[in-house]
C-alpha cells in the first residue's frame, strides 16, 4: 500500500460528524481510493461522544487501523479521548483553545472552525470547514472537493451551496502548506466500486432476490436495512411495512410468504427474542422466511449502538423443539448481497426459515464493493400449481416425500386448497395428535437437513497449512485477515479460517481446515467463544485458546496481532 491513512472525526452527537465523514468518504471514493469507515456513536440524539474513523488506501482495506494519522476534533472531549491514539507524526485539527498544555498539544493545527464557519455564513457550516481542512491536509485535489460539495448540497438552496463552497475553501486555506507526513499524491481513477454500508448491501440483496414484503419494527442497528429498502416501494412490486412490534413483523412476513411472495424481516437480538415463537411457526408450517439479526451487545437492551457477535448459539437454537433452518454470517458487502439472494432461494427450496446474522459494525460501516453485482435473470420459486397435480382437490401441503420437501402451492392460485397449521398435523395440514403423524412430520422435516447440509460452503482459508490458525466468522473476517498479513510479515507461521456458512454446520470442511494445524485460536466478539464451542461440538476439535472481546467496540488488527504473539510466546 502506498497510501494508508486513518482519519478520525470526533465530536458530540448533533455536531455534524457524519457530514464531515461523508464528505471525506465521497471525495476519496470518487478519486478511486478504497475506504473503510466505521461509525462509533452513543445511544442519544444530542451530546455525548461520537466519532467516525476513515481508513483511506490505494488498495482494498478490510479493517480499521489501530492508529490515527489525522484527528479532527470538533470538541475538547475528542482530543482527550483520542489524542493518545495518534501515530508518530500525526496531526490534530482543532480550535487551539481546547488543547490545553498537554504533550499532544504540540501536534495541534489550530483551525478556528466556528469563526470561519460564521464568516462563511453560519455556525452550522463548522463541519464543512472541518472537512475542507482535513481534505487539504491529505492533499485532495481542489476540483474534486468542489464537485463533491456541489453534489452533496446541490439539492439545497443556492445560498446553502454557495456558503458551503465558501466554508470548504476557508477550511482549506486555514491549513494550507501545513506539514503532514500523510499528505499524499491523489490518483485520478474511476471509483473502485460502490461505496455502501453493510445495511444497504443487505437491502439491495433483498431487492435483487425479488423480496416483495418486508416488515420490521425499528431497532438499532437493523433499522437502516428496511428503511433503505422502503425507498424502492414506488418502483417495484414491494411493500415495506413498519409493524406494531417484532412479533407482528415476523408473522406478517410469514403471512405474506404463505400468500405467495418472498418475504423478510430484520431486527436485532431483543427483537429477535420476540420473533422466536414466529420462527418456530415458520419451522412447523414450513413457510420460507428470511430474518436478519443485526447483533448488538447485551441481553435485554445492552449497548444499543454497539457491536457484538454474541447471538450465534441463540439463533441456531432459537424456538422450542427442533426444526431445520439455515444460518449465514456474511463477511463483506459482496458476500452480504449474494447471501441475501442465496437466502431467499434456499428458504423456498427447502421451505425453511433462514437467518442472516450480521452486526452493528457490519451494518453501519461503509466500504467499497469489490465485485460486479448481478441480479439473477430468473427467480426459481419452487411452487406447484394445479397443472402439477393429478387431482388438485386432494392436494396435501405436507405430503411425505423422499427429500422431506413437500409440494408447496399458494392459496387461491388454483383449485388446490392449501391448509396449514402450527399444530402438529396430518399430510393434508389438519390437526393431529397421532403418533404416526407426529413422528412422520418430524422425520419429514428433519430429512431436509441432509440436502441442506450439502448446500453449505466450507470456510474460506488463508495460508491454511500454517502451524497456527486464527478461526473466526462473520464481519471479524477483515480484522483477522489484516492481522494474519501483519504477523506473516514478521515471519510468524500463522494462517486463518473464516466461516460464513454457519448452520447446518459444515462439519467435513471444518475438519479438513482445522485438523492439519498444530493449534488454532478462535477470534470472536463474545465472551465464551461460541464458534469455538460449535467447532468442538461438531468436530471434536478443541481450540487452543480464544481471542475474545465483548466491550461493544469493533476489534482492531493490532489487538489480534498482540494476543496471537502472546499465545505463541507461551502466555495466554
Amino acid at each position: 500500500m502506498d497510501i494508508d491513512v486513518t482519519v478520525t472525526i470526533g465530536g458530540a452527537a448533533g455536531q455534524g460528524i457524519q457530514t464531515v465523514g461523508d464528505l471525506l468518504a465521497s471525495v476519496c471514493h470518487r478519486a478511486g481510493l478504497y475506504l473503510m469507515v466505521i461509525n462509533d456513536f452513543e445511544s442519544r440524539i444530542r451530546g455525548g461522544h461520537s466519532f467516525m474513523q476513515l481508513r483511506i488506501s490505494d488498495e482494498p482495506v478490510v479493517a480499521a487501523d489501530d492508529k490515527i494519522h489525522l484527528l479532527v476534533a470538533l470538541n475538547r472531549e475528542t482530543f482527550d479521548i483520542h489524542a493518545g491514539e495518534l501515530a508518530e507524526g500525526g496531526r490534530i485539527l482543532m480550535e487551539e483553545d481546547g488543547a490545553g498544555g498537554s504533550d499532544e498539544a504540540l501536534h495541534v493545527v489550530d483551525v478556528k472552525f466556528t469563526n470561519l464557519a460564521e464568516k462563511a455564513g453560519g455556525k452550522i457550516m463548522t463541519n464543512t470547514v472541518a472537512a475542507g481542512a482535513a481534505l487539504e491536509m491529505l492533499g485532495a485535489p481542489a476540483e474534486l472537493v468542489v464537485k463533491v460539495i456541489e453534489s452533496h448540497f446541490g439539492g439545497k438552496s443556492k445560498s446553502v451551496l454557495e456558503n458551503n463552497l465558501k466554508a470548504i475553501q476557508m477550511g482549506r486555506d486555514a491549513v494550507a502548506n501545513t506539514d503532514f507526513d500523510w499528505h499524499f499524491k491523489w490518483p485520478d481513477r474511476k471509483p473502485a466500486g460502490k461505496m455502501l454500508s453493510g445495511a444497504r448491501a443487505l437491502a439491495l440483496g433483498a431487492l435483487a432476490a425479488d423480496c416483495r414484503v418486508a416488515s420490521f419494527y425499528p431497532m438499532s442497528p437493523a433499522t437502516e436495512i428496511l428503511v433503505y429498502l422502503a425507498g424502492f416501494m414506488d418502483r417495484f412490486p414491494l411493500v415495506v411495512e413498519q409493524a406494531e412490534d417484532e412479533i407482528a413483523a415476523i408473522n406478517m412476513a410469514i403471512g405474506a410468504s404463505f400468500g405467495g411472495v418472498r418475504a423478510m424481516t430484520a431486527t436485532s437480538g431483543g427483537g429477535f427474542s420476540l420473533m422466536v415463537e414466529g420462527l418456530g411457526l415458520a419451522g412447523i408450517t414450513e413457510t420460507p422466511v428470511v430474518v436478519i439479526n443485526a447483533q448488538r451487545p447485551g441481553p435485554a437492551t445492552g449497548l444499543p449502538t454497539r457491536t457484538a457477535q454474541g447471538d450465534l448459539f441463540f439463533v441456531i437454537h432459537a424456538a422450542q423443539d427442533e426444526f431445520p433452518r439455515f444460518v449465514f454470517a456474511p463477511r463483506t458487502l459482496d458476500e452480504a448481497f449474494e447471501t441475501m439472494i442465496r437466502s431467499f432461494h434456499l428458504a423456498e427450496k427447502y421451505q425453511v426459515p433462514v437467518i442472516v446474522l450480521v452486526d452493528q459494525y457490519f451494518n453501519d460501516s461503509l466500504s467499497i464493493t469489490r465485485e460486479k453485482w448481478s441480479v439473477p435473470e430468473k427467480i426459481e420459486r419452487f411452487l406447484v400449481s394445479d397443472a402439477d397435480m393429478p387431482d388438485p382437490s386432494s392436494y396435501k401441503r405436507f405430503a411425505y416425500s423422499e427429500s422431506g420437501v413437500s409440494p408447496r402451492a399458494v392459496p387461491g392460485a388454483g383449485r388446490a386448497r392449501v391448509m396449514v397449521t402450527g399444530n402438529d398435523h396430518t399430510e393434508e395440514g389438519h390437526l393431529s395428535e397421532t403418533i404416526a403423524d407426529r413422528n412422520g412430520q418430524v422425520d419429514k422435516r428433519h430429512k431436509k437437513m441432509l440436502k441442506m447440509a450439502e448446500e453449505m460452503n466450507g470456510p474460506d482459508i488463508l495460508f491454511g497449512d500454517s502451524r497456527l490458525l486464527l478461526v473466526t466468522w462473520g464481519s471479524t473476517d477483515g480484522v483477522v485477515r489484516e492481522a494474519v498479513n501483519r504477523l506473516r510479515k514478521e515471519k510468524h507461521d500463522v494462517g486463518a479460517v473464516f466461516f460464513s456458512d454457519i448452520w447446518p454446520f459444515p462439519t467435513a470442511p471444518a475438519m479438513d481446515a482445522l485438523s492439519g494445524c498444530e493449534g488454532f485460536l478462535t477470534v470472536e466478539l463474545n465472551a465464551s467463544s461460541q464458534l469455538g464451542g460449535l467447532i468442538r461440538r461438531h468436530t471434536g476439535l478443541q481450540a487452543d485458546g480464544a481471542i475474545v472481546q465483548y466491550d461493544g467496540r469493533p476489534m482492531k488488527p493490532g489487538h489480534v496481532v498482540a494476543r496471537t504473539k502472546q499465545y505463541m510466546e507461551g502466555g495466554q
Partner: protein, 284 residues
C-alpha cells in the same frame, strides 16, 4: 347460490356438543355459499383457541397460526394477494388478550379482512379461566374469588378508533349472523363482528337462555348504521337488552388501496424485472 354442502368436510369436529362455535361455523358456510365464493377462493386465518380451530371444519384455504397473531399473518397474506377474501377467526382471549396490540394496529391500518371474534367470555381450550370480556367478579378455578378486572368493551373500542364496519352477531341466530358476515366480506376495509358465543362447558352465566332473553334485532329499531353517536350509546348500554346487527358503517380507504404499488395488481401476480433492479445497482 352455491350448494352449502361444498363447504362440508369430513374432518372430525373437536368441539363440545352444543358449543356456540357450531352456529358460527354454519353461518360462515352459509355466507360463503350465498356469495358464491368457492372453497378454494377464500382464505381463513386463525390464532389459537377453540374458535381458531374453525377453519379445520370446513373446506377452504387456511392458516392456523399462533395465539394472538392471526391479524399480522392476515396483513401479510393481504399484501401478497389483495384479491383473495380473508376471514380471520379468533376467540376473545386470542383477539382481545394475547393479540390486543395487533387488533389496534389492524384497526389503524384498515386492512381489508373480516374479523370474526367468537366472544364467549371465557377460555375454553385451557379449560375455563376468565377472558378479557369476562365480567368483573366472574368466578372460575383460576379466579376463585372472581375476576378482578373490568371487561374490555370491543364495540366502543372499535368505534373510538374509526373502524368502518362494526357489528354484533349471536351464535344462536345463524341466518342473521350469515347475513352480517356477507355484508362484512363485501365491505372494502376492516370489518369486525363481535359474536356472542355460548360456552356450554365453562361459562354457566352467558348461556343460550341468557342471550335469548336479551338479544334484539337492530334492524327492527330506528338505529341508523351511519349514526356514530347513536352506535356509541347503544354499545355502552348495560346488558339488560343486547342489540345484534350492524352497529356502525362508514366509507373508508382500505389498507391495500393506500399503497401505490398495489394499483398494478396483487404482488403475487406481478412479474420480476431483473433489468430494473440491475439498473438500480448500476446507478449507485
Amino acid at each position: 347460490m352455491t350448494d352449502v354442502s361444498l363447504y362440508h368436510n369430513d374432518f372430525e369436529n373437536k368441539w363440545c356438543p352444543g358449543c356456540g362455535n357450531f352456529g358460527v361455523l354454519n353461518a360462515v358456510k352459509s355466507a360463503l355459499a350465498h356469495m358464491d365464493i368457492p372453497p378454494e377462493k377464500v382464505l381463513l386465518i386463525s390464532g389459537i383457541g377453540q374458535a381458531a380451530k374453525t377453519p379445520h371444519f370446513l373446506n377452504c384455504n387456511f392458516f392456523h397460526g399462533l395465539h394472538g397473531r392471526a391479524l399480522p399473518v392476515a396483513t401479510g397474506a393481504r399484501l401478497a394477494n389483495h384479491d383473495l377474501p380473508i376471514l380471520v377467526h379468533m376467540g376473545d382471549g386470542d383477539c382481545y388478550g394475547e393479540g390486543g396490540n395487533h387488533l389496534l394496529a389492524a384497526m389503524r391500518r384498515n386492512i381489508d379482512v373480516t374479523l370474526l371474534i367468537h366472544d364467549n367470555r371465557v377460555y375454553g381450550l385451557t379449560k375455563g379461566q376468565a377472558s378479557p370480556t369476562a365480567e368483573y367478579g366472574f368466578s372460575t378455578k383460576a379466579q376463585p374469588f372472581g375476576a378482578l378486572s373490568d371487561p374490555l368493551k370491543p364495540i366502543p373500542l372499535a368505534l373510538s378508533q374509526g373502524v368502518g364496519f362494526i357489528a354484533r352477531g349471536y351464535c344462536g341466530e345463524t341466518d342473521h349472523l350469515s347475513r352480517l358476515i356477507q355484508k362484512a366480506i363485501a365491505y372494502p376495509g376492516f370489518s369486525m363482528i363481535d359474536i356472542l358465543q355460548v360456552c356450554v362447558s365453562y361459562n354457566p352465566v352467558n348461556t343460550y337462555e341468557y342471550y335469548n332473553e336479551r338479544v334484539y334485532l337492530l334492524d327492527e329499531t330506528k338505529h341508523r348504521a351511519d349514526d356514530w353517536h347513536g352506535a356509541m350509546d347503544l354499545s355502552l348500554q348495560g346488558e339488560d337488552r343486547i342489540p345484534i346487527g350492524l352497529i356502525y358503517q362508514k366509507q373508508t380507504i382500505p389498507f391495500t388501496k393506500r399503497i401505490k404499488t398495489l394499483e398494478h395488481g396483487p404482488l403475487f401476480h406481478r412479474s420480476f424485472d431483473p433489468a430494473a433492479v440491475q439498473a438500480v445497482l448500476d446507478d449507485l
